[in-house]
């Protein structure tokens, strides 16, 4: 079962989730090359989660991003925009030829994600700790409308530092928001260094459990595990919000970039982008 349209399973696509994830990584690397910089390590790390989100879990219409019956996918982490653009390009929401405009003047693809700029971008992220609270409001709104749509909020382990995240976490459970699915990217790296050294948020799963959430923690680069977790998140029988904690590897798929330690804003030299693409493609063939 791949992309679901209008709530009905679409004909099985010949493109595998692994290919989708691979293509998302390629789109992201090509965008990174345009600007010669970007949050490419995060994009490579989260590509598998986005592939499963857009090509397995979400209901949406690529040609009608504001279709009322869609599942809402919020990107709280504005600087992951490069990753979401890659997924939206792969999903056919954004034309592939716009990829070269990434981060340029008058582009629909600014470096930090904003709702007013990009089809398929539901909210303006970037001021971290906003997404989950907005998701609570949207989930309440969907329930008011008796909608069966889900709200997905993708946020980062860094956003666990923000008190607003926990205000929202407590309220989502208090309101019994079973139409809200949180996705946390635990890549272990923040602006000032390793996340646990910045502000230790572990043990994370028990925290969300204590807050009243249905919690799953998976390897965020394991497609099968992600499919299982997203399925369970949607179908689990409890009147509670759901969270999929995804442990991901920064720069996944390009070993020479994976090996770099300070990778929050990964430095990639001009001649390395093509090499990264080649390495990525090589890895896919194996």
């Amino acid at each position: 079962m791949d992309t679901v349209l209008d709530g009905q399973p679409r004909e099985r696509s010949n493109v595998s989730l692994a290919d989708r994830a691979h293509n998302i990584r390629r789109h992201a690397l090509l965008m990174g090359e345009v600007q010669g910089q970007g949050y490419i390590a995060q994009a490579l790390g989260i590509a598998d989660v986005l592939a499963v989100s857009y090509f397995h879990a979400l209901t949406f219409r690529p040609d009608d991003p504001e279709w009322e019956g869609r599942d809402r996918f919020l990107l709280s982490i504005g600087h992951y925009a490069i990753a979401l653009y890659a997924a939206l390009i792969e999903a056919g929401v954004i034309p592939e030829d716009e990829l070269t405009s990434y981060g340029s003047d008058d582009s629909r693809l600014p470096m930090s994600g904003m709702a007013a700029y990009t089809p398929g971008m539901e909210i303006t992220g970037g001021s971290l700790g906003h997404g989950l609270g907005i998701a609570v409001g949207m989930a309440l709104g969907l329930k008011r409308k008796s909608s069966s749509s889900f709200v997905y909020n993708m946020f980062s382990d860094g956003e666990l530092d923000e008190g607003s995240t926990w205000e929202a976490a407590m309220s989502a459970a208090s309101f019994g928001l079973d139409n809200l699915i949180g996705i946390v990217d635990v890549n272990g790296m923040q602006a000032d260094g390793p996340s646990r050294g910045v502000l230790n948020f572990e043990p994370l799963a028990p925290k969300f459990e204590a807050f009243g959430w249905f919690v799953q923690r998976v390897d965020g680069n394991d497609l099968d595990a992600l499919v299982g977790a997203f399925d369970a998140a949607r179908t689990h029988a409890c009147a509670c919000p759901r969270i999929v904690i995804c442990d991901t590897k920064m720069a996944k798929g390009v070993p020479f970039l994976e090996a770099r330690e300070r990778n929050h804003f990964l430095r990639v030299e001009a001649d390395e982008w093509r090499r990264a693409l080649a390495v990525l493609d090589e890895g896919r063939l194996q």
Binding site: M114, A115, A116, E122, I123, T124, G126, S127, G129, H130, L132, G133, I134, A135, V136, G137, M138, A139, L140, G141, L142, R144, K145, G163, S164, E167, A168, M170, S171, S174, F175
Partner: protein, 339 residues
Amino acid sequence: MRRSKYEKPAPRASGGAKTSAMIASLAAPGQRTKPAPFGNALLELAKTRPDVVGLSADLAKYTDLHIFAQAHPDRFYQMGMAEQLLMSAAAGLAREGFTPIATTYAVFAARRAYDFICLAIAEENLNVKIACALPGLTTGYGPSHQATEDLAIFRGMPNLTILDPCDAHELEQIVPAMVEHQGPVYLRLLRGNVPLVLDEYGYTFEWGKAKTIHDGGDVLIVSTGLMTMRALEVAQELRDDRIDVAVLHVPTIKPLDEETILREVGRGGRLVVVAENHSVVGGLGEAVAGLLLRTGTVPPGYRQIGLPDEFLDAGALPTLHERYGISTQAMARSIRGWL
């Protein structure tokens, strides 16, 4: 300068029953008032606007939203004492097509939740109405509850309409108008038994419009919020001194009705006094001063009546309004001194 906390205050000479209680009314003894005009107007509006929902951060009862909440429990969301969540959830509800009325105290919206109002609501021009009690100096609880700089904080936020009504009559008219308006609104809410003044002047609120409520040839008071009520009292009082005072009421702080203000100031010959229940920093006074300077409009004199750039004292409201120069008597004294 506040007295040292190690210095025992002198015993009170007489036992005047002054209170700094949170629920102190702004009304003078014997003044006409109306109970909970905001909550009652919202209740009336709710009949025809099913998209209106109410949210509060554990202050529904203290913002008169409880009247709406009790009548429509299914349309009320208690967000808990979490103002960041209050604003972001209101943004989410607006995204889904609802018109959220989010209430808390002005200090908490302005100081604590600013980033969430700015990015989650205003940047997207979402239809969230933020109604906040205790604007300026309307409680004797001290700086934790006195939003003396809320206008200064919010004036810099693009897309946000800022409203500062004078009384119950105006507040009742503002509620349907702000819901009708497309975009975010910050309302300085007067709650409880709210003075009723402007009905006697045949006043009607108009979105974005400043209006002359009382005309006069010596002094032009440009006022907002409850200071318009004070300004009208000052106009009566100074009449005995043969000082002719005009009152231009500016309930919409942003966008400012520049045309009317320039026209009134441009009539010439009048001392211009801007009066506001707010710090002299960053409120209506500086907004008007900037406007006059930019347009080369020079009145014979320009003065501000507002709160000092200080953390204010705790105490009874009448004491504090007198101490900081925004009582009717203090205003009248200041204006006499400037003439």
